[in-house]
Symmetry: C2
Subunit: 212 residues, 2 copies
DNA sequence: CGCGGTGTTGACGCCGCTCAAAGTATGTGG
DNA sequence: CCACATACTTTGAGCGGCGTCAACACCGCG
């Protein structure tokens, strides 16, 4: 990394349910997640919640802040999180390397959001869960955090429900169906995918769809 | 279509159902819509379709192409469309002014996509339609294309269904309910909103949610 | 005048939601 | 190490919003 700038890198740490950013508050800096999972979400007036983005190790948290927006949604840690905030000069200008990382993160984020629009708009419960689990695995794998066919999966069924637009109860039942069909093994916060191709099939992806 | 020049603006024209861009094909340039509506979408293997973005007059079509991505989804004209493609040098570098417009468009697009994730994940049919119609009106208004409480609305019920993740039949029934409740007047491609506040309420937006 | 796209209506079925309760981890303090 | 609280997972019964299927009406257009 580079440490030769006025504002130097600083590491920070969050516990589960702790906020990395609150709505409409100017964040101190742009975070890169080094360890742990976080998400952003929105809550409707009557309490319904939808998670709109997941941040995994290596991800830049809200790269579009680099475009000068302030957070329109809160970001909260789902597990213990270690993060680094990208150094920036007083006027919010990032060093070239970080700038590049932001653009890359931005492009990936848009791609993933678009995929999720399709899933939330048109897919069944099994397809939604297959999409989610595949995406998690692929993202973990591309960060070197997978082990063979498995990886960590710290989300609760309630959090899965809030990502997939389902209820926790239905997530539970659907996961059981998928286990019975041999599509996934999921227990005690670990995910194993016996047959990647079968799960891709169950996710009803389009041929050129890349999740990582 | 048209032979494009390195650095000068060129205008082009599309008819309904004509493609502004196809999947995975490098587009000639980045378009700005001058008149008419277009959308991008994805079709699942079994034919289900989800529209993932709408482009209205003034919008830059796929600003994230400026990040160096090629289109992952087709873009098709919904009406007659006039567009201008932004001049760019051979290496894809945009003039500063266009660059600015792209970043602005990008930030707006992310914001809207996020809002739609919430709507598709968690909202009822009425709420979805209220969100859509409000967004359309606000976007048209901010471009000076509204007239009092009304604006053009060229979408078919089938297209509305593909945006909101519903079926055309249910869109039809839900619109009737909304008409009965005095939430909207919608006929022959024109939209009138008698009571903006009531429609906002029906859309179950969060207080700080801005749609334009 | 006929034809394809669109809007409308009805009957019926199912996927996923709601409500409720019991069972099982996880963690905390004594 | 146990007692207890809290969070999470699992299970059952019943229901409802939205989808499906199938007509029919309407309209612009060649």
């Amino acid at each position: 990394m580079l440490g030769q700038f006025a504002a130097s890198e600083t590491h920070c740490h969050f516990r589960p349910h702790q906020f990395l950013a609150r709505e409409d508050e100017q964040p101190d800096a742009i975070y890169r997640i080094d360890e742990g999972w976080a998400c952003r979400y929105r809550v409707l007036p009557d309490g319904r919640r939808q998670i709109t983005g997941l941040f995994l190790p290596g991800d830049i948290c809200e790269p579009h802040w680099a475009l000068g927006k302030r957070p329109s949604q809160p970001i909260v840690a789902l597990t213990n999180v270690r993060a680094t905030n990208l150094p920036s000069s007083p006027h919010g200008v990032l060093p070239a390397e970080s700038q590049q990382a932001c653009w890359k993160g931005l492009a990936d984020m848009i791609e993933r959001q678009t995929n999720w629009l399709v899933t939330l708009g048109r897919k069944t419960a099994i397809e939604r869960l297959a999409h989610l689990l595949l995406e998690l695995f692929e993202r973990m794998r591309s960060s070197g955090l997978s082990y063979g066919q498995q990886c960590a999966m710290p989300l609760t069924q309630m959090e899965i429900a809030d990502m997939t637009g389902l209820t926790p109860v239905h997530v539970n039942r659907t996961l059981q169906t998928m286990r019975q069909r041999g599509l996934v093994e999921l227990q005690s916060k670990w995910l194993r995918i016996p047959d990647l191709a079968a799960l891709r099939d169950a996710a009803a992806l389009t041929s050129n769809e890349v999740l990582a």
